[in-house]
């Protein structure tokens, strides 16, 4: 379904322009990886805290207050470089299910994280108290950790699988 669209996109002046500069894709992918590293580590740090791992001297709301802005910037960088790579190499991206799985999981994990952040901000004392923290906190930590790990795997495997579908 998306193949004709990808073919058309790859012939647009913007896509051709990006393809003609051989340094753009490597630089974009490098920034993309830097953003993934920051998102992955920040998410896992918050999730480790939710699963009661010891993080000396910091409350959950304090930790999220520090790391969520990092995640917001990294997600913006991830989206910008991701769009750039999709425009530059649409066929490579659109043909593999890995790309669509990655997109779907990013949307799900982003919505889950926004809802989580709002809940923590709305009632910080409740979330900071390990004994009173909502039961769903652990489920959130486990599910989002799996989603972030799967996003990394799918992202890497786009490059290894796209040629099977062309």
């Amino acid at each position: 379904m998306f193949h004709p669209f990808a073919q058309w996109l790859s012939t647009t002046s913007l896509s051709v322009g990006l393809q003609e500069h051989s340094w753009i894709i490597p630089v974009s992918q490098s920034i993309h990886i830097v953003c993934v590293c920051l998102l992955f580590t920040s998410a896992l740090t918050i999730n480790a805290r939710l699963l009661r791992a010891r993080t000396p001297g910091r409350t959950l709301s304090d930790l999220t207050g520090t790391l969520l802005p990092v995640m917001r910037w990294a997600l913006a960088g991830l989206a910008f470089t991701g769009v750039l790579q999709t425009i530059a190499e649409p066929v490579r991206q659109f043909v593999t299910p890995m790309y669509w799985a990655k997109m779907l999981m990013i949307v799900i994990v982003a919505i889950m994280t926004v809802v989580f952040a709002r809940k923590v901000r709305a009632n910080a004392p409740l979330w900071d108290d390990v004994n009173r923290r909502p039961e769903g906190a652990k489920a959130f930590a486990i599910i989002t950790s799996i989603l972030w790990a799967s996003i990394v795997v799918c992202g890497r495997f786009i490059g290894y699988t796209w040629s099977f579908y062309t």
């Binding site: 490098s30 993934v36 580590t41 520090t66 890497r156």
Partner: protein, 167 residues
């Protein structure tokens, strides 16, 4: 034995051939090991950058640097161990190609410089961390160490990714 013949010997090992995926049974071994390498590197880079940003005074200013160091270092070193192991396996599969690759060489130069920077910080300004542990803006030497570490490890990521386009 010359370095080149040593690299050829490494490349000829059965383990190196397996990682290269010469048999259909292990065709996916290289991508799987590479993905593990990316996981480990993500945690190495992410944990180091969080500390660097604190040293620069840009992230959670006023929080204890020594506590943050104690919390992040075990993650950094464990992930570094996994990255080193998986990186060695990937290197073995194409030892002669990687050894002669400029981006690979620069990646290791950057890691070497990052290690020197870490040692200078550890045995320098970090020795007096008690004096500035919760300062909103750490002393100049600590900020320089943070900026250098951030730049060098970002360069490691860049050269690491660039290797994929040049090997």
């Amino acid at each position: 034995m010359s370095i080149h013949s040593f690299l050829i010997m490494v490349e000829d090992l059965p383990l190196s051939a397996a990682v290269r995926g010469e048999e259909s049974d292990n065709a996916w071994l290289f991508p799987i090991i590479e993905t593990c390498h990316i996981f480990a590197l993500s945690l190495v880079y992410g944990s180091i950058v969080l500390l660097d940003l604190r040293l620069l005074g840009w992230l959670s200013p006023g929080s204890s640097v020594s506590k943050l160091t104690r919390a992040t270092l075990p993650v950094t070193w464990t992930a570094w161990g996994v990255a080193a192991l998986t990186g060695t396996l990937l290197f073995m599969s194409k030892a002669t190609t990687y050894a002669g690759n400029l981006q690979f060489q620069l990646k290791f130069v950057m890691m070497g410089l990052a290690a020197v920077n870490m040692l200078v910080f550890h045995y320098g300004s970090f020795k007096q961390v008690g004096r500035w542990d919760t300062a909103r803006t750490p002393p100049g030497a600590a900020r320089v160490a943070g900026a250098l570490s951030l730049s060098l490890w970002t360069a490691v990521i860049f050269f690491g990714r660039w290797m994929g386009f040049t090997t």
